[in-house]
Symmetry: C2
Subunit: 466 residues, 2 copies
């Protein structure tokens, strides 16, 4: 065993570093922190620690490093790749008490927040000042900014506004030895040595613990419109996606949903929507801007493109209630799928025009191995969430055939110029597929970077690399 | 000496790796490759090698690594921080023959190019397809994409479109041991292990040699308008910058120029423009989009903001010729300053609302040490190019007092939340100031990352770190 077990003395020491009530070892708490939103995986930590400031994070990390104790940082536990699972036990370091919006700097269009701020809380505070923080993962109501940064999380608005990566200016990070650094500067541009901010984004808590985040904000567009388009052919719907951009239009969201996903959302969430017999896929398209007439023209143009690809019907959401109702369908889909069957979710991403090939390939692979899948996701970014459904598949087939099928899906994704994960991260569950994308040399480069930051390997051990 | 001298045998070996005519040792060539655009610095390489493909780059690097020969990658030599100077001699590896636009992928809005493609060549090819590659440094007519990536180069359109960083999807990179990797995937999103694409951006040729680049393109806006606003007070002009964004407008460029820069441009480039007596600064503002009426409204709104900050006069450029003329003033400014005096250029960047404080501080520091400066730059990004002018300053003062003054400018920049360089990089000449921004621990982290990629330190030695 490469890590030391936690002793009673260690627990006592932690209670001197943070408030005693922020060191928890009761069974119920350990169980609650043993899982995130990744399937039904569960690994018990030995202790849950909830620091309230950076100095406490630093002291906890230093102690773990000095004593070879495994420590796994944890955001809100909404991850879908098992990144927050304490697979070697030890400390689960929950950032939930570092939840202050330190300031919204209106003059510079920046916000300074602690890592445990809920994403939607920041979005709402910014909106009050007519500012937009456009990074809104489906779990925005509960996920933390720090977790978003650690996973390089996305969301529907990437397609127009860029990824989270484009909005993170500077990070306060605690290294395993307890050192605290600011990775960059609070500036829009940065050409001052290796960009550790960007290296930290998507490093899944394996290089350092993010404690504070400086984000860029943009002026909030005054208006938006939402369309829901129905397609008999799912592949045609995918084809239409690339065509919208080729028409010179930049939607603020462009989401794809398969029929089954729609049926389950209706069942699970009591949403009123008529799923017509021959419709197999939907596109949810949002446009935003400061001129409503122009947005209507955009919608007309988008409509023309969609109809060229066999779209049969378009619902337009203009009022806030209508738009919310359409968005609700998409936002609720992950939970609906989860509620209906044992499942496994992949987070494939390809260049956007390759989506039709990816979708067809996934269905072919499913037919070969005998599994069904429900696909939805950020089609505008080429990011397709593939929910493989157990349904009536036997336990034996689920255990033996599924890994082969997923491997083929990953091989297909990579062969189309894509990669294993667009926004969920590698975490625990995508590790078996790393060698499909990366050479041994490339993997070793990454492992050696890990060693630079965390020579003893105490920080989120067992993640990204196998 | 940590590097081996180049032997005749080594030169012969290089001539077997690349075409013999691509291995140059004549005095004139060595002299030409001994400098870039950084002041009057000059360091002779022992040989200039011009590979034509990735395999050649790989073989040259492997040989240098095996034989401890210093090798300095070189783009177009337009750098302003000395990044391409072969300070330890050895090989100058010029990427100029890897200059193919491999493809513009219209379906996916991507371009695949070799590292030696001139930035403007890509911009023009993309424009033919109504696509925009918005990363346009002042030197776009001669600089290479690979050099832009290596330096994290910027340009005026960052303010609306984001930095180069947001447009680089994937890189083919050759490591010192000759291994070739693609750092990422050709996708808009990426959450698959450490992001080596982003680490490579801005690493100034110290981690690997960039051989191919996949960039993101966006639909090209159909229209733009340009305004040139005159201000009696330079600080008021800077104050106006942040106010434009607060008014909810997102210009596609927002450039600041001091009066002296304007006078020199007029003199140097025979531009017809009346510099009025009491005007001390100018803002060049561009807006772009697909609706000309809306752009006119934007200009009116911007005008209202500018007049609130004491703007006296606004010239509007509507025709292509008028717009070109206004842009020419800004684009020609760096060369004009260079032509007029011995100078030293700094590339300060701060949160944009801190610009007035930065500008005032720079002038105060100049008064203290007895130097003049001409400031211009990407005010919308808080990125101010400070050109310190020798003018009538004595050689002794230039040598002794200037470093003290620059050190104070850098301290001021960092104290305002900024950093040493926004887009020029650290290279050779900003190294003395690294400790103002970074702790020893932070610097050591970067050095250790360097060791992961380049354990023998053959690649662009003497850069970034001292």
């Amino acid at each position: 065993m490469r890590f030391n077990k936690l002793t009673v003395e260690a627990i006592e020491h932690f209670k001197r570093i943070v408030k005693p009530e922020n060191v928890l070892t009761d069974e119920e708490t350990l169980k609650r922190y043993s899982h995130d939103e990744t399937e039904d995986l569960s690994y018990l930590p030995d202790v849950v620690i909830k620091p309230e400031n950076t100095a406490e994070v630093s002291a906890v990390l230093k102690f773990c490093n000095d004593n070879s104790i495994a420590i796994t940082p944890r955001g809100a536990g909404t991850g879908l790749s098992g990144g927050a699972l304490p697979v070697f036990g030890g400390v689960s370091l929950s950032m939930e008490k570092m939840n202050k919006i330190i300031k919204i700097d209106e003059r510079n269009l920046q916000a300074h927040v602690e890592a445990g701020v809920i994403t939607e809380a920041l979005i709402e505070e910014a909106a009050k000042l007519n500012l937009l923080y456009p990074v809104d993962p489906s779990s925005k109501g509960s996920c933390f900014i720090g977790g978003n940064v650690a996973h390089g999380s996305g969301g529907p608005r990437v397609v127009k506004y860029g990824t989270l990566r484009d909005y993170i200016l500077n990070l306060e990070v605690v290294l395993p030895n307890g050192e605290v650094i600011w990775t960059g500067a609070n500036t829009l541009k940065y050409a001052s040595g290796y960009n550790l901010t960007q290296l930290m984004i998507g490093s899944e808590g394996t290089l350092g613990v993010i404690t504070k985040v400086v984000v860029k904000l943009v002026p909030k567009p005054q208006f938006n419109l939402v369309m829901l388009a129905s397609f008999p052919s799912a592949e045609n719907a995918c084809e239409a996606v690339a065509a919208i951009f080729r028409a010179g239009i930049m939607p603020s969201a462009l989401e794809f949903m398969e029929r089954t996903g729609m049926e389950w959302v209706i069942k699970y969430d009591d949403i009123k929507f008529d799923v017509k017999d021959h419709i197999n896929a939907y596109l949810l398209v949002e446009v935003d801007g400061n001129n409503l007439d122009l947005l209507r023209t955009d919608c007309e143009q988008i409509g023309e493109v969609l109809y060229c690809f066999g779209c049969e019907d378009i619902l337009l959401g203009e009022s806030a209630a209508e738009k919310d109702e359409l968005w609700k369908i998409r936002r609720k889909m992950p939970l609906s799928v989860k509620a209906n069957s044992v499942y496994k979710e992949e987070d494939t991403v390809v260049p956007r025009a390759e989506l039709p090939k990816l979708l067809k390939g996934i269905k072919d692979i499913g037919n070969k191995y005998g599994f069904k899948s429900v696909c939805y996701g950020h089609a505008g970014d080429g990011n397709l969430h593939v929910n493989i459904i157990k349904d009536s598949m036997s336990e034996a087939d689920w255990e033996s055939k599924l890994p082969l099928g997923i491997k083929e899906i990953m091989e297909l994704t990579v062969s189309l110029g894509g990669t294993l994960s667009g926004e969920h991260g590698i975490g625990l569950i995508q590790q078996p597929y790393m060698s499909i994308k990366f050479s041994d040399f490339h993997l070793q480069l990454m492992r050696n970077i890990k060693l630079v930051f965390d020579p003893k390997g105490i920080l989120n051990p067992g993640k990204i690399f196998n």
